[in-house]
């Protein structure tokens, strides 16, 4: 009977997912898993993986999708097979959907790697049910505070999850004190990546500044004089322009071997994502510098983090925004780009974070010298308009339209020759844009 329920639940996922895709009802990333969970509560524990499959779990507030995408791309460049929840479906139901869609009817899964991005609160359910080989914690920023209350709570949720994978290797961002000092088990090997402190690069100071809350007391104060941990993977010699990033990664355990990389992406956050993907790939497998480099070039950013899109016959760039630090970083980069125009779209659905207070912590003042219209949209468009007003953007330059389609077309219509539109949506606005087919990716 139990076996029948198990097979039935897998069948349900496959059937529901098929119909959702067939009828173009959406991405089919959560509902099938939800139904399967109803039929068979411990479905995850029942799945059977081939013995040499390695399970990698990626969690943290920012960069989960991007890092998973980069890592998957690296593994594939080395000719390995990877199963991953690339639709950004990182809750239990989404992960079940991913796994069942990739399993046989008897629940057998065959691949070299399973790369899962996992929501912080979901982590413990995954580490309990699956034999995880490696966990990465990217960072712990002020993101969706209204979901878990506060960052300390988020840290505790992650620690609970880590605890359940006694033999996993734990890869941690050494430049984020909240991550670097997460509690781990004595049986777990810790691997740290971060900026080289010996680097005399001009950029490096501002980079490590970025990893902290700008308003928070520094490393020493808030964590009482704890030393930054010793790094296993060091990022150094960073050079950036507004289109790409060049850096070196030094592998301490491998005779300080230094490899040079070129990342066709901007933003310090993407640099950290890339460094963590390399650290994992090198820890668990042995990709060459060439294969990694090829993977970065092949990788097109998941879910719009710095993605080029086509709308009608014009092109625009999308940068997902969701918390003050990430947003400030995007604004710092884009406000320097020549002939930039902006459309900022804010929703307050659960996945965006229902509290829009964070808008007031992001440095929209970087746009205060704008002489061109700034378009705002989304359910909380007027909150955004207000934020711009108090950032000293002239009121008559703020164009509000809550409907994203109208706002996007209005913005594109006013573009002059040589100008580029940058769209800064929160998560569910981006989903809406994809669902309404307002944009398609340009490679």
């Amino acid at each position: 009977m139990q076996n029948i329920l198990f097979i039935l639940s897998i069948l349900a996922v496959k059937t529901v997912a098929f119909f959702i895709s067939f009828l173009k009802l959406g991405q089919a990333s959560n509902l099938p898993g939800k139904i399967a969970l109803k039929i068979k509560k411990d479905i995850l524990k029942q799945l059977k993986f081939n013995e040499d499959l390695k399970i990698i779990v990626i969690t943290g507030t920012n960069g989960k999708s991007t890092t998973s995408g980069m890592l998957t791309s690296i593994f594939r460049a080395t000719g390995k097979t990877v199963i991953t929840n690339s639709a950004g479906a990182n809750l239990l139901t989404g992960i079940i959907t991913t796994l069942c869609r990739n399993s046989s009817l008897l629940g057998k899964i065959n691949a070299d790697f399973l790369v899962l991005e996992v929501d912080e609160a979901t982590l413990k359910y995954i580490t309990e049910a699956l034999k995880v080989d490696l966990i990465l914690v990217t960072n712990l920023f002020r993101d969706q505070l209204d979901r878990f209350g506060e960052l300390d709570t988020t840290a505790k949720l992650i620690e609970e999850g880590i605890k359940k994978s006694k033999n996993a290797q734990i890869v941690l961002n050494a430049d984020d004190p909240r991550v670097a000092f997460l509690k781990t088990e004595t049986t777990q090997k810790k691997i740290y990546y971060g900026l080289s402190s010996i680097s005399n690069d001009e950029n490096s100071l501002s980079l490590s500044e970025w990893m902290k809350d700008p308003e928070e007391e520094d490393y020493k104060c808030s964590h009482r004089e704890i030393q930054k941990p010793e790094l296993n993977f060091l990022i150094s010699d960073i050079k950036t322009d507004h289109l790409s990033t060049y850096f070196n990664l030094i592998e301490v355990s491998n005779n300080l071997q230094k490899s040079n990389f070129f990342l066709p992406m901007v933003g310090i956050f993407n640099l950290y994502n890339a460094a963590s993907a390399i650290a994992i790939a090198k820890t668990i497998s042995s990709p060459t510098q060439m294969q990694i480099q090829k993977a970065f070039q092949a990788y097109s950013t998941l879910f719009g983090r710095g993605e080029k899109i086509a709308v009608k016959n014009k092109t625009a760039w999308i940068y997902l925004i969701k918390n003050p630090i990430g947003t400030t970083e995007v604004l710092k980069t884009l406000s320097k780009a020549p002939n930039a125009r902006f459309l900022i779209a804010i929703n307050d659905n659960f996945a965006d974070g229902r509290d829009v207070s964070w808008l007031w912590d992001a440095r929209f003042e970087l746009l205060s010298n704008s002489k061109k219209e700034i378009f705002v949209s989304g359910k909380r468009a007027f909150d955004m308009a207000l934020r711009l007003k108090y950032a000293n953007v002239k009121q008559d330059l703020i164009k509000v339209n809550e409907n994203i389609k109208t706002a996007l077309y209005n913005a594109l219509n006013t573009l002059e020759d040589g100008e580029t539109l940058y769209v800064l949506p929160t998560y569910t606005v981006l989903l809406e844009m994809q669902r309404k087919k307002l944009c398609k990716s340009v490679k």
Binding site: R142, L145, G149, E215, S222, D361
Partner: protein, 244 residues
């Protein structure tokens, strides 16, 4: 206005430690709406170990933080206790949000039963609850009967002593404790509340009230200039209609 320069002094307490819910938006809003009226708002930030000159400041602002930061602040506030109570008793304007609001009271009782001392400037106390109140709040300020909108996110339940009046009556949301239907506190010129969002940008009448009170207290009787609040008013109206 006769070209005479008007200046107000604001003391921004612990901006580096208590900063998690867009609280700087409140200070930004006070500053903006002062400057629109040719009032200079001088902002002085005060952190751990720095002393407060209570005769200097017209307005005080304190925000909310996380447990660890709140603990550091609570300890340091004991050093500033006397001066802050003097300021409050001399009718200084005080806006305290969330954690800062709790610390103006007698104590905060944590889930393990230990007590975090407040400065006992106001007759109120807070106990940790087992359910977090999170959502869009709508309430009505008792003094003006104007609506107030904001977002609450707290598990502490605050109870006012008999001598104290709440700031507002809750229409939607948890408020002080999720039980008595009231939100915040109003004592002399102290406004304590759980609302952020940020609070002041979408409640321009409250911002203006704080500025007016500060001017009055200083004996400045220049006519109060109305400024364009069209975006503020729409954002307020939209927030009135949000769901919890």
């Amino acid at each position: 206005m006769t070209g005479k320069v008007i200046n107000l002094d604001l003391c921004y307490l612990y901006p580096k430690l208590l900063n998690i819910y867009g609280d700087r938006g409140n200070v930004l809003t006070l500053s903006y709406r002062c400057s629109q009226r040719n009032i200079g708002l001088n902002i002085t930030t005060i952190g751990i170990g720095e002393s407060v000159d209570y005769e200097k400041f017209d307005l005080y602002f304190i925000g909310g933080g996380q447990d660890e930061q709140q603990l550091l602040v609570a300890n340091d506030l004991q050093e500033k206790k006397e001066t802050l109570i003097k300021a409050i008793e001399k009718n200084a304007i005080f806006l305290a949000i969330c954690g800062g609001y709790q610390l103006l009271g007698k104590y905060y009782k944590t889930p393990d039963g230990s007590e975090l001392k407040g400065i006992d400037a106001l007759d109120l106390y807070t106990v940790a609850g087992n359910k977090r109140m999170i959502g869009n709040v709508l309430c009505r300020e008792i003094e003006s009967e104007e609506t107030l909108v904001g977002f609450e996110n707290h598990s502490g339940k605050t109870f006012l002593g008999k001598s104290l009046k709440p700031l507002a009556k809750v229409i939607r949301g948890g408020g002080n404790n999720g039980e008595d239907g009231f939100e915040g506190v109003r004592y002399k010129n102290v406004f304590g509340t759980y609302l952020h969002g940020s609070l002041l940008p979408k409640n321009p009448f409250l911002t203006d009230k704080l500025i007016k009170l500060a001017l009055e207290r200083k004996g400045i009787s220049a006519p109060f200039i109305n400024i364009d609040s069209s975006i503020e008013d729409i954002a307020h109206k939209k927030a009135v209609n949000l769901s919890y």
